[in-house]
């Protein structure tokens, strides 16, 4: 929908924050881009990859964030500007490499873009990655608008080169996924030559960009790193992305960054306190523009910090205040530490208004203009609105896989359970997955934790364990866990729910698909051949063959070999439906065969199997197909004990 590649300086487009980040990279003359999909970061590579060839840069969906970032570093060390993007969890995966890359520094600009997910709306947690920048002395930029996403990403390349180290751009869901008006800048001429220069001169670190991280004397590199980083404050101090607006000596100073700055600005406007409150917007949140902040701390008796997730700026400013000379005025600080700002979840305008009103000692009631009558209608309606919990899509192969897993574990009869993993398969923990998934931590964590359960038999543990992961998760982080299990003879079955796409984040390709990010043919990696090479039992099933899949799973659970692999393979229904416009089957319920409540199945199809395409016709007391929702996959025909659900091949 966006056209970020056009060379039309001065024109405006409606861009997602993530698309604006991609445009910023183009305006910086990027030569290399890598990523692993993860909400809310995926659209950055999703936008860059399709235009990579035309614009003359390399783009890659990598197997995981670590390889993505390592590959981007190679480009940087070879005189090519590079960008690597990921969600917050991905930064955990790259941290070991990142710590060591800081020891050497980089060549041409290397930008790490991280999209945090305050509230954990589409993540397993709501970790704040900003403390990593402070911990490792990495310059950290926090854009507030789509325009700044573009402008700050472009600047991040310059900053990286000025300091000779990676720079980090931190976005959040409400920024990455908001479309805003973006004015385009110029695209540079495309002349790049890559060359890896292998020299290292510890006495002249600004000229020595290429090295080995360790060098036998890590403390020497620490000194070099600190020297390099000591130049960062001057760039941050003078940055136009830090700005103050408000009265000369405000009663209250708000310090804010990122998307929260827009909430703070609107809160001040709604409470009509412009003449009493000033806002210091920080675009560079590590290192802090200490001079700018110190000057403003002197002019106000109260400071309120508005930021999301961790009290990162809050703590850093308090450290700064503690280091100011003894006669420097120190204001009272309000924020997460004082309890005036919610310490968890995302911020929003309402919360920021409440925080500001409390600190200002004013009262504010949301929706105060509503009449009691209107409010009582609202209250009545809220009671009758059913929620929309997560579910597998109609036709999703995972519904079939978990149905089979549940029945296999029941037939096995030893109280077996599933250790889950990240991605669509995580929904195995809720009703559409028959509540089978009992552990859920991190990429590759399903098979990792199964390794431990599989060694507890000496303590009378006899529950069989099925570790579940998706295909992209298998390649990302599950292979070491599987090999560890095989080596140490841990007792578990790994079920790889292979739907041939990184489905949850938007169907990105992976090694099993044989296609690369740019749509070019890649070498296809066979999951079964890889698993078979380990010398353990490997079976491949179509989960839509429910009977066959249940039998295979049951056989594996009882196999004498401790570690086993079952690949449950069927293409993601959304991928299939995009390609084949026709549904495979026309589905209908034969009213003569469906005997409704008389059946004794207790509405197995709609209550338990719960595909959104199957609905209960209350008036008729029978099941029926909702044709607008049904994908025509045909699976439910095998679920009805009366054989009342009919499928006609189309």
């Amino acid at each position: 929908m966006a056209h970020i590649e056009i060379d039309a300086p001065g024109t405006t487009q409606l861009l997602l924050g993530n698309e604006a980040i991609a445009r910023g990279a183009l305006e910086a003359g990027i030569g290399f881009a890598t990523a692993y999909p993860g909400t809310p970061s995926s659209e950055i590579m999703g936008t860059l990859a399709p235009i990579a060839r035309k614009m003359g840069f390399y783009a890659e969906w990598s197997i995981n964030e670590m390889v993505a970032f390592e590959a981007a570093s190679a480009a940087s060390l070879s005189n090519i500007r590079a960008l690597s993007s990921m969600k917050a969890n991905g930064v955990n995966v790259i941290t070991d490499f990142l710590v060591n890359l800081q020891m050497t520094g980089v060549g041409k600009g290397l930008v790490l873009v991280v999209c945090d997910d305050p509230g954990g709306m589409t993540s397993s947690n709501e970790q704040d990655t900003r403390p990593i920048a402070k911990w490792l002395n990495i310059p950290l930029l926090e854009p507030s608008t789509a325009q700044e996403c573009k402008d700050m990403t472009a600047w991040a390349f310059e900053l990286s080169e000025e300091l000779g180290m990676v720079s980090m751009v931190r976005s959040v869901t409400y920024l990455s996924h908001t479309r805003g008006t973006v004015r385009f800048g110029k695209l540079p001429a495309n002349t790049k030559t890559a060359r890896f220069a292998e020299f290292y001169d510890i006495d002249n670190p600004r000229q020595s960009r290429y090295t080995c991280g360790m060098q036998f004397h890590p403390y020497k590199q620490s000194e070099v790193l600190l020297n390099r980083f000591s130049k960062a404050p001057e760039y941050c101090e003078g940055s136009p992305f830090n700005a103050y607006s408000g009265p000369e000596a405000p009663e209250l100073l708000i310090i804010s960054s990122g998307i929260c700055w827009t909430y703070a600005t609107e809160a001040v406007s709604i409470l009509q306190v412009h003449d009493r409150v000033g806002i210091l917007k920080l675009g560079t949140t590590w290192p802090l523009p200490e001079g700018l902040i110190s000057r403003h701390l002197e002019r106000s008796d109260k400071v309120l910090f508005i930021e999301e997730i961790a009290p990162f700026v809050e703590r850093s400013v308090m450290e700064l205040a503690a280091s100011l000379p003894g006669d420097h005025a120190r204001p009272a600080f309000y924020g997460k530490r004082s309890g005036h700002v919610r310490a968890w979840g995302e911020q929003n305008l309402n919360l920021v208004i409440q925080s500001l009103a409390t600190v200002m000692g004013t009262s504010y009631r949301s929706r105060q203009t509503l009449s009691p009558q209107y409010q009582s209608t609202v209250n009545e309606v809220e009671k009758i609105l059913p929620t929309r919990p997560l579910t597998f899509c109609p036709g999703c192969p995972h519904r079939a896989s978990f149905w089979a897993i549940k029945h296999a574990l029941q037939l096995d009869g030893r109280n077996g359970f599933v250790t889950g993993d990240i991605g669509c398969t995580a929904m195995g923990m809720i009703s559409p997955g028959s509540f089978q998934v009992r552990t859920y931590y991190a990429m590759g964590g399903g098979v990792g934790i199964a390794n431990g359960f599989g060694h507890l038999e000496r303590f009378s543990f006899n529950q069989p364990v099925i570790a579940v992961c998706g295909d992209s998760t298998f390649f990302h982080a599950s292979i070491p866990g599987l090999i560890n299990g095989v080596w140490n003879r841990s007792n578990f079955t790994l079920a790889i729910l292979d739907n041939s796409a990184t489905a949850m984040t938007g169907f990105q390709p992976h090694p099993g698909t044989g296609v690369t990010a740019t749509g070019d043919p890649g070498k296809k990696v066979s999951i079964e051949a890889l698993c078979q090479s380990l010398g353990v039992p490997v079976a491949v099933c179509d989960p839509f063959d429910l009977t066959g899949t249940i039998a295979t799973l049951l056989r594996m659970l009882r196999d004498e070999e401790p570690t086993k692999v079952v690949i449950l393979r069927r293409e993601c229904e959304l991928v299939r439906a995009r390609r084949d416009k026709e549904k495979p089957y026309k589905m209908y319920v034969d009213p003569a065969r469906c005997i409704g409540e008389e059946c004794g199945c207790n509405r197995l199809c709609t209550r338990v199997f719960s595909c959104p395409g199957l609905v209960w016709d209350k008036e008729a007391g029978k099941a029926m197909i909702d044709e607008a929702v049904c994908s025509g996959c045909g699976l439910c025909a095998g679920v009805c004990p009366q054989g009342a659900i009919m499928r006609d091949a189309l």
């Binding site: 409606l14 409400y174 600005t265 997560l390 009703s431 209960w616």
Partner: protein
């Protein structure tokens, strides 16, 4: 560029529906048209973790004055709410509605999984219609899904609703700009979308 003043600045719109109904496309089309008319726009599509069938709400803010708007609407602060699905319209009316809000509803329900499994009930459509009327100053309640099927594909539902929105004059939109955006963004389906837009405009006249 239009010199039309906004009745409020920023003007705030919500498009509510269910994953797979085309919320994101609809909010993008509206946002793009507004940019063509020289306004600043933010659009946030709140779709959570689900690919299909989760609640989706797109928040749109349109301004002449500010380009630094926060992405989400404030409670009780919507000027227009369009529901591609009726109870998603109601859900957003309860949070963002006010006595001045304009409501546009498509009457075709998409049942939540709890309703399918029998744990929850879908409210009666008559109740839904009555409540929409009580919670809005002006409302257009149409069966866009049915009209889309008559045009040959349920996918036209959102463009029909875009026609209703255009006809309602709730936004400073004009037909030429919307058609220009449809032509640019969906060139292969332009003629059908043009017909769907016309259908939406006709529904406003009938109402």
């Amino acid at each position: 560029m239009s010199q039309q003043e906004l009745s409020k600045d920023p003007l705030k719109v919500i498009i509510a529906g269910v994953g797979g109904q085309g919320n994101v496309l609809m909010s993008f089309l509206i946002g793009s048209a507004m940019i063509k008319l020289g306004y600043s726009v933010t659009v946030f599509d709140n779709y959570g973790a689900s690919q299909r069938l989760g609640a989706v709400a797109s928040h749109i803010k349109i301004s002449r004055e500010s380009s630094d708007m926060s992405p989400l609407l404030h409670e009780g602060d919507a000027d227009v709410i369009v529901g591609i699905e009726p109870i998603e319209l109601l859900r957003n009316l309860t949070r963002f509605g006010n006595p001045e809000v304009i409501a546009i509803a498509n009457l075709r329900p998409v049942y939540p999984i709890g309703v399918i499994s029998g744990e929850a009930e879908y409210p009666e459509l008559d109740t839904v219609i009555e409540t929409i009327r009580r919670l809005s100053a002006q409302s257009w309640i149409v069966n866009a899904s049915e009209e889309a099927l008559k045009l040959g594909n349920p996918l036209y539902t959102n463009v029909i609703l875009l026609g209703v929105l255009l006809g309602s004059k709730a936004l400073p939109l004009d037909r030429e700009t919307i058609e220009e955006v449809l032509r640019e963004e969906l060139p292969q389906a332009f003629e059908m979308n043009k017909a769907a837009l016309q259908k939406g405009l006709d529904l406003v006249k009938v109402d």
